[in-house]
């Protein structure tokens, strides 16, 4: 049985070897840390875990982290789509430059991004100075957290949607137009359904990244308990207290909520595929 399962599905040799390498690396890099976290959580026990997570301070930090990540990712969903659309469909001066710049948040160390953003948006910064007279303060408020999360999450949506738009034939839209559909109707019934799976993937990636983001946020957040303190910072705080159990508890809570959210997004994705067909 086993031999037939492992029989090479392609004329090229090396399934055994590549499967072995894949499993080893995957276990060491991804599975082992997660299993270790879960194992540590199991050793603590659900009752203690809950009592460690259910303090008002941790709950408000968790709520802030997920709320900010959701808002930033929703923004990126809309803005990222527009950006990808413009980059694919139009030719203009500097297009390649902008296209390259989108990957910048991937490459830039997040702490550097956080420090630059807080320098720009602090009340004496370039943008902060303009916003201050209007009574808007960005740095050291929740607004600043959104900004940092929008920055680090943007490339995920753009880079997942871009290739799909490139593959969409323009003729489809033209056909829709010649059949008498208005522009908005074409967008809603023809274009968006084709992009939905990619958009959801990009949204999920951006969301997952934002929830756990630490480096860029702590510089612009203000870090005040109950107000601008994110959950990853609380994990670091617990570690500073050598309280590995409480850090594990918060980590597990974040893992569970993230898992639930990704599951919901996947279900929506499956549902939308079934409804509009696989594109």
């Amino acid at each position: 049985m086993r031999a037939s399962l492992l029989r090479s599905p392609s004329p090229l040799p090396g399934f055994g070897l590549s499967f072995g390498i894949m499993m080893t690396v995957l276990s060491i890099v991804v599975l082992l840390p997660i299993v270790a976290l879960l194992g540590r959580g199991l050793a603590i026990g659900p009752a203690d875990l809950w009592s460690m997570v259910s303090s008002r301070r941790i709950l408000s930090a968790l709520a802030l982290s997920f709320r900010a990540a959701l808002i930033a990712s929703l923004f990126n969903l809309v803005f990222g789509l527009a950006l990808a659309w413009v980059l694919v469909r139009y030719r203009f001066w500097g297009r390649r430059l902008i296209d390259a710049a989108i990957d910048l948040p991937f490459a830039l160390p997040t702490a550097v991004a956080g420090i630059s953003l807080s320098a720009l948006y602090a009340p004496n910064g370039v943008f902060g100075k303009l916003l201050a007279p209007l009574g808007i303060q960005v740095a050291y408020t929740e607004l600043g957290i959104w900004l940092a999360l929008i920055f680090i999450g943007l490339p995920f949506v753009v880079r997942t949607v871009q290739p799909v738009i490139e593959e969409c034939d323009r003729e489809v839209e033209e056909v829709s137009a010649t059949l008498g559909a208005r522009r908005f109707y074409t967008l809603r019934r023809v274009v968006l359904p084709m992009l939905t799976p990619a958009l959801l993937t990009g949204f999920a990636l951006a969301l997952a990244r934002s929830v756990g983001e630490y480096g860029s946020v702590i510089f612009i957040a203000g870090n005040l308990p109950y107000q601008t303190e994110i959950a990853p910072l609380l994990i670091v705080i617990r570690l500073e207290e050598y309280n590995y159990d409480a850090a594990t508890a918060i980590g597990l809570a974040m893992l569970l909520i993230s898992f639930a959210m990704l599951l919901i997004i996947n279900i929506i994705q499956i549902w939308s595929r079934r409804r509009i067909g696989d594109v």
């Binding site: 055994g16 499967f19 072995g20 390498i21 499993m23 080893t24 276990s27 060491i28 008002r56 301070r57 420090i115 807080s118 320098a119 602090a122 009340p123 004496n124 910064g125 740095a139 050291y140 702590i218 510089f219 203000g222 870090n223 005040l224 308990p225 109950y226 910072l233 670091v236 705080i237 617990r238 570690l239 500073e240 207290e241 050598y242 309280n243 409480a246």
Partner: protein, 395 residues
């Protein structure tokens, strides 16, 4: 919570140490542990790691990881014996970067002049607590020079690599230099901040890092507490009320001292920065004397950043000799002069320049021993549910 204050064994380096809270309590915060035989323990853990890997054997995957693990173990075993020249890793915290860079040169000059081979000295810097955790998690530091004795005590408790009595192995509580907490205000002191009571005024914004993540911030907190305790005759209700309104004036809690200095100096947030004295002088030196003023409060903390030999990470007698000398030489007149030059209050001023000594004003200093030592103060003030957490709970 009851506060116990005790008379410590040492006075401060520069300045008067005044103990107004004296009910004779003497701290005994380090529980005795015998250091285990390191090599035996290490060999044991290697065997069990191997066994764990091999028991996963049937899988190709398991075999792969077993092979690579054996390779790693073999290389680490041979690596330990391959060293010829003596190497030291000094794991320290952020503000000492410049000082130890200069001290390493000074030490090597002295060491070779004594007829020894030169030593390779490496240094690592970061937040004090994080650095302690790296050593706990296996960073092979032979020497640690951290911001708080609590951080070194944590290494001693969690690893057995440092004996419990480490703080008595070197003079002055193992602190070759000390510092204190001062106020950095904007040029000309526009808000006229003179002492701790000005920090709770409604028009004053205070910048301090988070005591949970920053060693320096713990000194800030305790300095304010010590002043308030004297001011309100030990009435803890009033002290807490003072601390609560102090933290209501804090708009940003950075995670480290350098972050707070940036927030205050570069971003222009806040009217007063609670800072290490050496950081405040450094800010003056870097930003220019006309950007900020230093205000010395009436009462402050005697901050004693300690140093220790990490016995568990010593691999040879030669290395132990160097590491020992490296720490002891910190107390030599030349090294002390260097510490003074780097804005630390040092004990021995015999080789220092007049200018470096004159820089430090006289302050009333309260020692951590007056709070029962870090073993008692750390959990009571900064632990989970401690005073700092309660202050935010009340807001």
């Amino acid at each position: 919570m009851t506060r116990k204050f005790s008379t410590g064994a040492h006075g401060p380096a520069q300045g008067r140490l005044i103990r107004r809270f004296d009910d004779g309590h003497i701290a005994d915060d380090v529980n005795a542990k015998t250091p285990a035989g390191q090599d035996a323990a290490r060999a044991d853990s290697r065997h069990s790691a191997l066994r764990a890997v091999l028991s996963a054997g049937h899988w190709r995957a398991g075999l792969f990881s077993a092979v690579s693990a054996i390779g790693l173990l073999a290389s680490s075993v041979s690596g330990a014996h391959a060293q010829s020249q003596v190497e030291l890793l000094n794991v320290s915290y952020d503000p000492t970067r410049e000082f130890y860079r200069e001290y390493n040169e000074l030490f090597n000059e002295w060491w070779t002049s004594e007829g020894h081979e030169p030593v390779t000295l490496r240094q690592s810097h970061g937040g004090s607590g994080g650095q302690a955790r790296s050593v706990i998690d296996g960073l092979e530091a032979q020497v640690v020079t951290l911001a708080l004795s609590a951080d070194i005590a944590a290494i001693a408790e969690n690893t057995d690599k440092i004996p419990a009595d480490w703080q008595s192995r070197l003079p002055h509580n193992s602190s070759p230099y000390t510092s204190t907490i001062v106020f950095l205000v904007r040029e000309g002191n526009p808000k006229e901040i003179a002492d701790w009571d000005d920090l709770v005024r409604e028009d004053v914004q205070v910048i301090t890092p988070n005591p949970k993540t920053s060693g320096g911030a713990r000194w800030n907190f305790l300095a304010a507490w010590a002043w308030a305790l004297a001011e309100y005759d030990g009435d803890e209700e009033q002290v807490r009320a003072y601390m609560t309104s102090l933290f209501q004036n804090v708009p940003v809690l950075d995670t480290g001292a350098r972050g707070s200095t940036n927030t205050f100096a570069q971003r222009g947030i806040g009217d007063v920065l609670l800072a290490w004295e050496n950081e405040a002088f450094l800010a003056l030196a870097e930003q220019g004397e006309d950007a900020f003023d230093i205000v010395v409060p009436s009462v402050s903390m005697l901050a004693e950043p300690p140093v220790a030999l990490v016995d568990g990470n010593i691999t040879s007698d030669a290395q132990r000799e160097v590491a020992q000398a490296y720490l002891e030489h910190l107390y030599s007149p030349e090294a002390q002069a260097l510490a003074l030059k780097n804005f630390y209050r040092a004990w021995d001023t015999s080789a220092a320049s007049e200018e470096d000594i004159a820089r430090f004003p006289d302050v009333e200093l309260v020692s951590i021993d007056d709070f029962g030592g870090w073993g008692e103060a750390q959990p009571a003030f900064f632990g989970d549910g401690g005073v700092f957490d309660q202050i935010f709970e009340e807001q």
